[in-house]
Point group: C2
Chain length 384, copies 2
């Protein structure tokens, strides 16, 4: 097993090693499918109880693989480490990680294999951090243990200027800052979970993102990159966004707050928001949510029609977010304007715009997504 | 789901219900196969970590099934209940079961679903009770919670006078005593795990063994059965026994002890023992072990050849144990003699004999097992 022998090599160099593992292959999806077969709307608590078995299988099997290589290894689940999280099932956050058990095993020169993605809340119940949470577990452990390095192994070999499946000239970055990575992660680059990057930034943990399949240089994520700051270091495409438009809201204070509060209470993340100027005592608000939250969002809005006093709501699934991200943008005005020009030249209409200091996001029709991303990538980053 | 709706019915009658679940179908075997693929000699600790995920999947899915029937249910694993066991992985025993969490959930009128077969030891590691351990979990919980009843659901509908696949006239018993059941379980009747019966006897828990597939009367296991005591209540056949013969041991005190002590230290259960009378300063000892322990037993004896000073050791896999069990035997001499006569009339040679107050066991060639069991059953129990 490739990963086991890599761990063994690292161990023999004398390093203290803590490995965080995800569930294998499609096992999480298979467990969720089993749940849905039984109950199409399963309790989040029980879903966490179910899916966390996947990582426990991974760590136990990896321990056995390492034993075969004469590496003393021990698997630990969230209860055993005591990975304390907040209470919310399916989307918990780390509050405190006990070091004693892990330290004890490291002191006995064992490789410690920890179940990623999971924790224990104040009720002694299993929680999960949400999808992609194993990265977060790794960073949180690295911070708790004051680790020298945190390497994240995935099926890609680094962070690219854009999705190579969409943008033909996309190329791998040697280094990237936390903030750039955060924006790329949020915008659907899908390589590192944004919570893991937030945590790494907070605790100053340098991340190395590399391939679990081949030994090639990966991408380093840290505060200040040594290389010259690029104006735009990445182009992100997110086709999983859906747009919801709420038409004819009463144009008075608190209405928008009430609406977004209802969604937030159900843990629905609202992204790009566009609010029209009030007219005839009403206004329109459009915003994007991820694919998976669209139906629930619509249902919440339907249920609260009287409270929110709107005329109608629409859902548009055929939208895509295309974003440019770059720490160099902060000091370079005109980047957004250049992006809009590129889209104009391609004849692509911009539905909504959202910007931050180091990011510009546009919402466009999803069938233009590839064309837009390639044109923007060529204009800002060019060929390798 | 059949089991879920049965629980729902019981719950609606107003009962406090704690349900212990095993892993589903062949999932434990599949997990073990995965482990063996990676490491043919996996660590017992890691094997426990691996296989205990099976029950966690069961309880989570059952909770979801009950929620669909509007029954408030909550799943708990060994960590959450705090099912304290001894330290030995793969074969742990309960030491103490915390009641607080279960009581708390029952007080909130929830059906509590507990993972069977597993516990937590003093190192905070997951342990298993060995195969068939979910019965033991159920009885231990019934005792800890002072339950009114403990119902064990399996794929058979009760306890039979013998294995119906082997003995054509075997029939279901309405009631049986703990001691009879213990002997039957030990002798390979394979319905109830003997530890669960020991525990039930110790705490006076009446067991009802019944079918999970159809609602028919099962068999009650308790101290005193109301029905007339049968001379022989069951005939057990165990073809999984292997015989090991140790030839030419020094005929001096302590040698046999040393040998059985070595085996006991590896948790190998030795059964029917036959010791020859000493001759020329040496003696021979034969004993049976279960199939699964035969190779390890032989290896242990090989390793300790010098310590034990024997001439040779042999392993015979083609043996079977046939036993009769009955509380009525105690007051009826001549039962063993009648059994030997039946075997003599069938022309079946007896290799070894072992008896207790309510049991007679003979070791015979395995290809006579069916014939012996049927003849003995006809002679003592007859047709229905």
């Amino acid at each position: 097993m490739n990963v086991a022998s890599r761990i063994a090599k690292d161990y023999r160099r004398g390093n203290d090693i803590v490995v965080v593992l995800s569930a294998m292959g499609k096992s999480t999806d298979e467990l969720i499918a089993k749940a849905m077969d039984i109950n199409p709307n399963p309790s989040k608590r029980e879903l966490d109880m179910l899916v966390t078995t996947g990582e426990q299988v991974s760590v136990a099997l990896m321990a056995m693989a390492l034993h075969l290589l004469d590496v003393p290894a021990i698997s630990l689940n969230a209860f055993q480490v005591a990975m304390h999280t907040s209470s919310n099932y399916g989307n918990a956050r780390f509050k405190k990680i006990d070091r004693d058990r892990i330290r004890h095993e490291l002191d006995a020169r064992k490789v410690v294999l920890v179940t990623g993605f999971q924790g224990v809340n104040k009720y002694d119940d299993v929680t999960t951090l949400g999808r992609g949470g194993s990265d977060t577990t790794a960073v949180a452990l690295a911070a708790a243990l004051h680790a020298d390095a945190c390497e994240i192994y995935t099926d890609v070999d680094g962070i690219y200027t854009s999705d190579p499946r969409i943008v033909k000239n996309a190329r791998k970055l040697d280094e990237i800052t936390y903030d750039e990575m955060l924006d790329l992660a949020t915008l659907g680059a899908g390589v590192l979970h944004n919570r893991s990057v937030e945590l790494a930034k907070k605790y100053g943990i340098t991340l190395l993102l590399c391939s679990s399949l081949e030994e090639v240089p990966g991408t380093v994520v840290r505060e200040d990159t040594k290389v010259e700051k690029m104006l735009v270091s990445g182009v992100a495409v997110d086709k999983s966004a859906d747009r919801i438009s709420v038409i004819g809201l009463a144009d008075k204070p608190g209405v928008a707050f009430k609406m977004f509060d209802l969604l937030a209470k159900k843990n629905i993340n609202v992204d790009v928001i566009l609010q029209s100027i009030g007219r005839d005592g009403t206004k329109d608000i459009s915003f994007t949510v991820s694919d998976g939250d669209a139906d629930e969002s619509m249902a919440i809005l339907e249920e609260n029609r009287e409270l929110l006093t709107y005329k109608e709501i629409n859902l548009d699934r055929d939208v895509a977010k295309v974003s440019i991200v770059g720490a160099g943008m902060m000091t370079n005005p005109g980047v957004a304007a250049k992006m809009f020009e590129v889209l104009f030249n391609e004849g692509i209409n911009i539905n909504m715009i959202s910007t931050s200091e180091i990011r510009v996001t546009v919402l466009i029709d999803s069938h233009y997504a590839e064309r837009a991303a390639n044109a923007i990538h060529d204009a800002f980053i060019g060929e390798d």
